[in-house]
Amino acid sequence: MKNRLLRGLFFILLLLAAAFAGGCATSPDRAPPPASSPGNEIEKAGSDPFFALAETYRLKGREFKKSGDLPKALNAWKVVKSFAPEDAEAEREIADLINLIPAAAERHFQKGLALFKNHSLALARKEFLAAIYLHPDHPDAFHYLKEKLPGEDFHTYEIRKGETPKQVSQKLYGDSQKDFIIAYFNDLRGDGPLEFPRILKTPILNPRLKKGPVSSAKPVANLEFAKPLETRAELEKARGVFRENHYPESAALAEKILNSDPTNREARELMNESYYQWGKQFGQEKKHREALEVFQRVDSGYKDAAAQLAQSRKEIAEEHYINGVRFFTQEEIELAIYEWEAALALEPGHPKAKKDIESARNVLQKLEKIK
């Protein structure tokens, strides 16, 4: 009797223990079972530490999709499907997201394109980036981000029948003598009429290198920048960003108008003023190299841009000169010469650099003789 009692107690305890052990495996830090979980899921959870992981990703997949983070939602559902290949929800969601993602990317791209055409460059960039995030292989978003937004460094020019390099040079650079640039970049030989039809690609020359105002180049029909612009509206937009002190953007907008209409005086004025103010801003921040680069874009003769440019050069030259003196006192004579030469390159009339270079070279010669 006593033995039977003990045996009964033993079995009860074992059953309790078994039930407890099963419960323990589905511990509180695990996700709740899915809505679609079959009857044997609890058993699975007990033996598979990854069971909860799949369920966590199921929840993530739903949340990501709800919040609009479609690529992450897709990744999450792929994880779920890997663990549960027959999971109907995962299969449905993956198929849905595969359709949704390129469509959403295209919407962002088209929005970006509209903003780009409207010269809202910062907003356009955001939309192109969103398109890339959703669909890294989007055929055009990368091209616009990389090539179109920063602007181009070259003109494209469609040759008219019978035109010569000198004529094209006159049109593009206001100087027929720069035809060698056109020849170099387009592998042309001779001065005669150019092959027709053909599109030439030739660098935009820095405004300060131009001899006169740029004459109108025939726009190339299939290029985005060359399309006719609604100039008045564009100009107003450029002025708006200028008033908000966004000088790089207003300069870029004005330049784009000039690409289409090189004789537009208001756009030229706005471009010059934008670069001028931007350069002054850099100057106030003691960023003289950046100031130099920006002032170089202002047309020569505009306000006191030439003086500002000279001042930037002088400041940079002075930095180099002081570095040279420091090197010299540290007996780093070659480095001192290097710095002084840099000073001289920027300011050929530097009061001391030339003389100091000569002295330093004499010192070097003497040192070599001693050796």
Binding site: F10, F20, K146, L209, Y338, A345, L346
Partner: protein
């Protein structure tokens, strides 16, 4: 088997309390069983993992971090941030199951919060004792390189950066490039041993007119040796003139011809002396313009570097790549300010 039964029988006969105690012992063990088994897995030699074509699911063990898992499975600890983001947690605890994507893809490093930027550090000269604006002291340089390692930065080659800029590959989230300009001997004597110690790749931009012309400059023999050892040697023009600004007495035609000479002379000399193809250009003084850019493109350069401070997102212009000069008088906090690897911009 019979022995076992006998023991139970003996137990039953000798003391019911002992028997109940034994049952309780079994119960306690069973209650703790799930955890105990897991703990053994966690701490033990064998890791529980399940492989799928695109990822591996693993259970974290004691001491695991995202960095150690990235090293173990992706062969690169600097993907730790990517793993943390993928799993949506900041740190690991033993027993935690984790997903490790086998092909970590962050093309362009774009997220909904912003995008990756890659800083390029520009050094010039080095000295074991002295500091100058363009001269980094050896001890400081070592500290900076150690900082990169300790803070989980991944120093990558310039080619990898340009693959990123051309949208051909992903980079670890904290990638950084190191360059040294000019061609001073100190690059070999001081910087290279430190860079070798950490296994960091570096690109040396030399202007060819100085090579072998000064006792403080590198010689072609030494450059040849460095190239043999795998050092990347690229162009800093022929004479280090400012490419963006014509000389005061230089006609436009002369300016252009000299520009062509600066870019081709350097490229050809390196090819002739070192039998190395040059792909990249560092603009002297960091300055450029559209004519310089188009000339460099025409000559087959893949890209060029300025000294405009800031990191480079994947959509940076290949010929206006930003680069931050690390000046000799920088302290560590100034150095760190040049290491921004992410630009916040909500894409929602």
């Amino acid at each position: 088997m019979s022995d076992c039964r006998g023991r139970v029988r003996t137990l039953k006969v000798k003391s019911p309390c002992l028997f109940i105690g034994a049952c309780l012992f079994i119960l306690v063990n069973l209650l703790a069983g799930g955890r105990a088994v897991l703990s053994a897995e966690v701490a033990g030699m064998e890791r529980r993992e399940r492989s799928f074509p695109d990822f591996i699911a693993v259970v974290a063990r004691e001491g695991d971090t995202f960095s150690s898992l990235a090293l173990e499975y992706l062969k690169d600890p600097t993907w730790d941030g990517f793993l943390a983001e993928f799993n949506g947690v900041d740190s690991l605890r033993p027993g935690q199951p984790v997903i490790i994507p086998l092909k970590p893809e962050r093309k362009g490093g774009v997220t909904l919060r912003g995008y990756q930027t890659v800083p390029i550090l520009a050094y010039h000269n080095f000295s074991s004792t002295q500091t100058g604006k363009l001269t980094a002291r050896q001890a400081m340089f070592e500290e900076q390189m150690r900082f990169l390692r300790e803070e989980g930065y991944r120093v990558i080659a310039l080619d990898q950066l340009f693959d990123f800029l051309e949208f051909k590959g992903s980079l670890p989230p904290k990638s950084v490039v190191i360059t040294i300009d000019d061609g001073w001997l100190s690059a070999y004597e001081i910087a290279l041993p430190v860079l070798k110690k950490y296994g960091y790749p570096v690109t040396l931009f030399v202007y060819t007119d100085i090579i072998g012309k000064s006792p403080r400059a590198l010689s072609w023999d030494l450059l040849g040796k460095m190239a043999e050892e795998g050092l990347d040697i690229q162009c800093h023009t022929k004479s280090h003139r400012n490419l963006a600004v014509p000389g005061e007495k230089e006609s436009f035609k002369d300016y252009f011809e000299n520009l062509v000479g600066e870019l081709s002379g350097c490229k050809e000399t390196i090819k002739k002396r070192l039998n190395r193809e040059v792909k990249y250009l560092a603009y002297p003084y960091g300055t450029t313009n559209s004519l310089v850019i188009e000339t460099a493109k025409k000559m087959g350069y893949r890209g060029a570097l300025t000294v405009i401070r800031g990191g480079n997102p994947f959509f940076s212009h290949n010929f206006r790549v930003n680069r931050s000069e690390i000046l000799g008088d920088f302290n560590m906090s100034q150095f760190e300010r040049n290491l921004a690897v992410f630009q916040e911009q909500s894409l929602r």
